[in-house]
């Protein structure tokens, strides 16, 4: 498993497994979205649609709110009104909605929502540990003769001498 025997082949196969996992997950665990529903409104009438994977709240109106994300913007209707839900423009959120067909198209109706007003702070503070560990790696390791090794590894010192 860890020997040098067929190391190149092991690296290649593991790399392919990881790349394949990403591709497979992209298609196998993809969730139903608003665009899918609009493509065939009758088929998806009443379907549950999850909204909010890294999307934010746009303009908030009494009976609906806009959803913003890179390259997409759409509305979610809120039957009981948006007041009291704590919706704030710019906040990340997660929502369970239901697709309702209308006039050849359709809309999303809110069933449940959970906002994450501190997610930006969470992302921001997460940069620090990443930098600290990155700094430690740079201080501790070096790339030499095709391998990573500790800078103060005794074997490395002998080879350098």
């Amino acid at each position: 498993m860890f020997s040098d025997r067929r190391r190149g082949l092991k690296i290649l196969l593991l790399g392919l497994f990881l790349a394949g996992s990403c591709v497979y997950a992209q298609f196998s665990s993809r969730e139903l979205d608003y665009e899918d529903c609009l493509a065939d409104p009758e088929k998806y009438a009443g379907a549950e649609v999850w909204v909010g994977r890294d999307l934010t709240i746009g303009a908030v109106e009494p009976g609906r709110f806009r959803v913003r994300g890179p390259g997409e913007e759409f509305s979610v209707e809120v039957p009981g009104g948006t007041e009291g839900l704590g919706l704030r423009t710019g906040d990340y959120f997660q929502a369970i909605t239901v697709f309702r067909p209308r006039d050849g198209g359709g809309y999303l109706e809110l069933r449940e929502i959970r906002t994450a007003p501190r997610r930006r702070l969470k992302i921001l503070v997460s940069v620090l540990p990443a930098l600290l560990v990155g700094l430690l790696l740079v201080r501790c390791l070096r790339w030499k003769n095709g391998f990573l090794a500790w800078k103060d590894a005794p074997g490395e010192v002998r080879r350098d001498a």
Binding site: F2, I96, P129
Partner: protein
């Protein structure tokens, strides 16, 4: 996910139970790795979220840590793999505590894409403990600084 400060602090506390020596920094890296391999990609580009989820699955992380270990010299690989993967598992266990309105983590991937979470705490809950986790993270950093692990 809890924030990475919490993950590093938890990794620091967990590392106290092992004799990691020079592999300590790799244990810390493992404690952050699942998020480092996924968040920088799907946060700016949400449509690829599903493709990044395997990096929160134990089997895929096993493969990644094995791959990473192969870039070290043969005599260090076992320790590199063990430290990285143990760190990753500490991350996954902490993530498992969270509650999600939608989704969770695909622990059994690639055999299943069903999501799991225990639902004890909101993802932002851990920010309330920054007063504790931030000093612990800085302590973790200072103790792992080259030369310190052998003095300690």
């Amino acid at each position: 996910m809890p924030d990475l400060v919490t993950h590093l602090a938890a990794g620091f506390l967990a590392s106290r139970f092992f004799r990691l020596g020079r592999f300590l920094v790799l244990f810390y890296l493992g404690a952050l790795l699942p998020d480092l391999l996924s968040r920088p990609f799907h946060i700016p580009f949400p449509p690829i979220f599903p493709a990044t989820q395997p990096f929160h699955a134990p089997l895929v992380l096993f493969a990644f840590c094995w791959l990473a270990a192969l870039f070290f010299r043969a005599e260090a690989r076992r320790g590199v793999f063990a430290a990285l993967y143990a760190g990753c598992l500490s991350h996954l266990l902490l993530d498992l505590l969270q509650t999600h309105l939608i989704g969770g983590y695909i622990w059994l991937f690639p055999f299943s894409t069903r999501t799991y979470s225990l639902g004890f705490a909101e993802p932002e809950y851990f920010l309330d403990y920054l007063w504790l986790t931030l000093p612990l993270s800085l302590l973790a950093f200072s103790l792992a600084w080259p030369g310190r692990e052998r003095k300690g």
